[in-house]
């Protein structure tokens, strides 16, 4: 068969979500000759329609359907309806991501073994090891064009990086450079090199930054084996009496419900929508949600320990110029419990434009103290702190008891409380970020609380034993052989690294496994 596919075609694999996981998986399957229907809830933009305007872009790309944030995290107070800053558009959050592409460290796949029994944490070892993922990391880096791999030069450092680097060297850090970035430092793969626009988060208008929107997805469609359907909001995954999934009910652009039959279904809607879809697919046979016999769907929600440090200097920095996140200090990413916490964190350059600086520097603040900081904008440098947070059973995506969305389905409630380890790590990271900038001559340093979550992980986690998680080492549901999860929700633990590279590597590995299983008739 070739695209487009009939709704009654039960030979297709339906992939739900077109971001890092779903977009990559759809292409990898299509390249193998497997028929794919790729459902994307959002619209399709192009580099030419992206806008260098923070609020306008936010409204263009973000997932703004109603959600609720609860728990003791500050996001629940400051942004009670915006727990996450992720996207609803073709390409998903690969339109918005900054491009940082780091491999997990070996010990991070063995969090339970390495960190031990951390009170209150539901740590597990991943059911796979770094060595097994390495060939897929290689392949992912190659197709994404990650700098400082495969002979690709590093990016040039911008003003913001120069400040970070000077401080890092004076402080005695060893590992500070412009990082491994899926942003072209020279033309590659038919895409141009970075022009230092400074709007990585708003969709890259030159397409120098890798996004499934203009790489994986058109490549998949070009095979004739992948049909992309936009404005297609998945509502429910359906199954037969044998417990195998049979198709996906979705709402099309006109709000009409459609049912696409399927040979297998891959859920890649990011760590809030993916568990929500499984929970909303509850049936008599799966009363607590599809593939949720373990009760783990939606649980162990992780969002990385995060925070930012902004520092004002006597001279201009103009941090908004150039690649947003091409700058990293990796010295703190090791596991060294003598610091007072397990796991590690990365320090990465980050800049906001004036509109978002006002929104995020200190949400809710007002008056002269706040405006004095804003007046320092041109002289500010900034960094983001991102580290491993502890999975906890109570940190969970659940279905709201009352509020329904436009399709009549319960909206997600995203509950999060910091673990004591997260707090200790953030305190340490704030102090080290401050030390970097003070070493570079800062006159003022500001600790900035976490933004709405960009790294959403763990809510359909991989586990060796079915009772500990939702999917196995291939991202295949423990309970349903032809149901897969293909996004960051499968992460058993979060690691210190930005997750996209690992999501892509896992999707490539999953595609190989699915092809083998389909070839042998197991699926």
């Amino acid at each position: 068969m070739a695209a487009p596919y009939d709704l009654t075609d039960d030979g297709v694999v339906v992939v739900i979500g077109s971001g890092a996981g779903g977009g990559t998986l759809a292409n990898a399957l299509a390249q193998k000759g497997i028929d794919v229907v790729l459902l994307e809830a959002g619209n399709r933009e192009e580099p030419s329609t992206f806008v260098n305007d923070e609020w306008a872009s936010f409204l263009q790309l973000s997932w703004l359907d109603p959600r609720e944030a609860t728990g003791s995290w500050r996001v629940a107070r400051d942004f009670p309806n915006l727990p996450a800053w992720i996207c609803k558009t073709v390409g998903g959050s690969t339109t918005h991501w900054a491009g940082a592409s780091l491999r997990f460290q070996e010990h991070e796949f063995k969090a339970r073994t390495t960190y031990g029994d951390v009170a209150g944490a539901t740590l597990l070892d991943w059911p796979l090891e770094l060595a097994e993922l390495e060939p897929y990391y290689e392949a992912a880096e190659d197709r994404m064009g990650v700098t400082r791999t495969h002979g690709i030069p590093g990016l040039p450092g911008n003003n913001n990086f120069m400040v970070m680097y000077a401080g890092a060297m004076k402080l005695g850090y060893n590992d500070c450079n412009t990082g491994r970035m899926a942003i072209n430092s020279q033309p590659r793969d038919g895409r141009t090199s970075c022009q230092q626009l400074g709007f990585c988060f708003q969709g890259c208008k030159t397409a120098a930054k890798w996004s499934t929107l203009y790489t994986e997805i058109p490549a998949a469609i070009a095979t004739g084996k992948c049909e992309l359907r936009i404005d297609a909001q998945a509502l429910q995954i359906q199954h037969d009496a044998s417990g195998k999934v049979t198709g996906v009910l979705y709402a099309d652009a006109d709000g009409n419900q459609q049912h696409q039959k399927a040979r297998a279904v891959c859920v890649a809607g990011n760590s809030i929508e993916s568990p929500r879809l499984l929970l909303n697919s509850a049936s008599a046979q799966f009363p607590d949600g599809l593939a949720n016999g373990s009760g783990q769907v939606g649980r162990n929600y992780m969002r990385h320990m995060t925070g930012s440090v902004y520092a004002a200097f006597a001279e201009p920095v103009r941090m908004h110029r150039g690649t947003t996140m091409a700058g990293i200090i990796t010295d703190e990413s090791r596991n060294d419990p003598t610091r007072g916490f397990v796991g590690g964190y990365e320090m990465e350059t980050l800049a906001l434009g004036l509109p978002f600086m006002a929104a995020f520097l200190d949400p809710g603040a007002w008056g002269r103290d706040f405006t004095r900081k804003m007046d320092q904008y041109a002289n500010m440098a900034g960094m983001w702190l991102v580290g491993e947070d502890m999975p906890q059973t109570g940190n969970a995506v659940t279905l709201h008891a009352e509020t329904r969305d436009a399709h009549g389905l319960p909206i997600p409630d995203v509950h999060f409380d910091d673990h004591a380890n997260d707090v200790a790590m953030r305190t340490h990271a704030f102090a080290q970020g401050r030390a970097v900038y003070e070493a570079a001559g800062a006159v003022d340093v500001y600790d900035t609380p976490p933004y709405p979550s960009t790294h959403n992980l763990g809510t359909n986690r991989m586990s060796e034993r079915a009772e500990d998680g939702v999917v196995n080492r291939w991202g295949q549901a423990h309970e349903v052989a032809n149901l897969f999860v293909s996004d960051g929700s499968v992460f058993t633990t979060g690691g210190a690294e930005n997750p996209t590279l690992t999501i892509v590597a896992l999707a490539l590995r999953q595609a190989d496994y699915m092809a083998e299983q389909m070839g042998s008739g197991a699926i």
């Binding site: 003003n159 412009t178 201009p316 908004h320 006002a358």
Partner: protein, 185 residues
């Protein structure tokens, strides 16, 4: 609703904004008499608009910014009242609460006392509504960006690759390993 003009000359003379009615109809015009700026108000009367403007200034005080930038906040609040009588009523009743807390008209207080009243009323729904609107509208106005050194859209200018992304100049340059040269074709 009456038509109003908030007249800058009277504002300057009386140290509080003044109101000049210019006739009956559905729309008020909130303008600078020099013609430098004007906004239209469809739902708010001039007295309410004047109070909201001064409240926005107390919340996000930048002495280098003229009233025209804060008037944009008022315009947004007025726009949000479109087709929403309840929102409009909340602005009007909120201003009444603010005046009550001020023991008279809020706008008649000196700046120091306005700040004290706002600090006391910071949890009030009106104050939070104006704060939430102002923190977006004030800083999202491209006309204020040059004041803060922010340059806005860059794609139409070819980005910063030839326009100063490495012009820091006051710290030693990183090593070539840490920061390789930019590709220039």
């Amino acid at each position: 609703m009456a038509k109003y003009v908030l007249d800058r000359r009277l504002f300057l003379r009386r140290s509080g904004t003044a109101v000049l009615a210019i006739g009956a109809g559905g729309m008020a015009v909130f303008r600078d008499p020099s013609g430098a700026w004007a906004i239209t108000l469809d739902h708010l009367d001039a007295s309410t608009a004047e109070t909201l403007l001064q409240l926005a200034r107390v919340l996000y005080p930048h002495d280098q910014l003229g009233d025209m930038y804060y008037a944009v906040v008022v315009e947004a609040l007025d726009g949000a009242a479109e087709g929403d009588a309840e929102a409009q009523e909340q602005l009007v009743s909120g201003v009444a609460r603010l005046d009550a807390a001020a023991g008279g008209r809020f706008v008649d207080l000196d700046p120091e006392h306005r700040t004290a009243v706002v600090a006391e009323q910071i949890g009030d729904p009106l104050v939070q509504k104006v704060r939430g609107t102002a923190v977006v509208e004030l800083y999202n106005n491209p006309l204020v960006w040059p004041v803060f050194g922010y340059e806005g859209s860059s794609a139409d200018e070819g980005g910063y690759i030839d326009r100063g992304f490495q012009d820091l100049g006051w710290l030693d340059a990183p090593s070539a390993e840490a920061s390789p040269p930019a590709y220039r074709g």
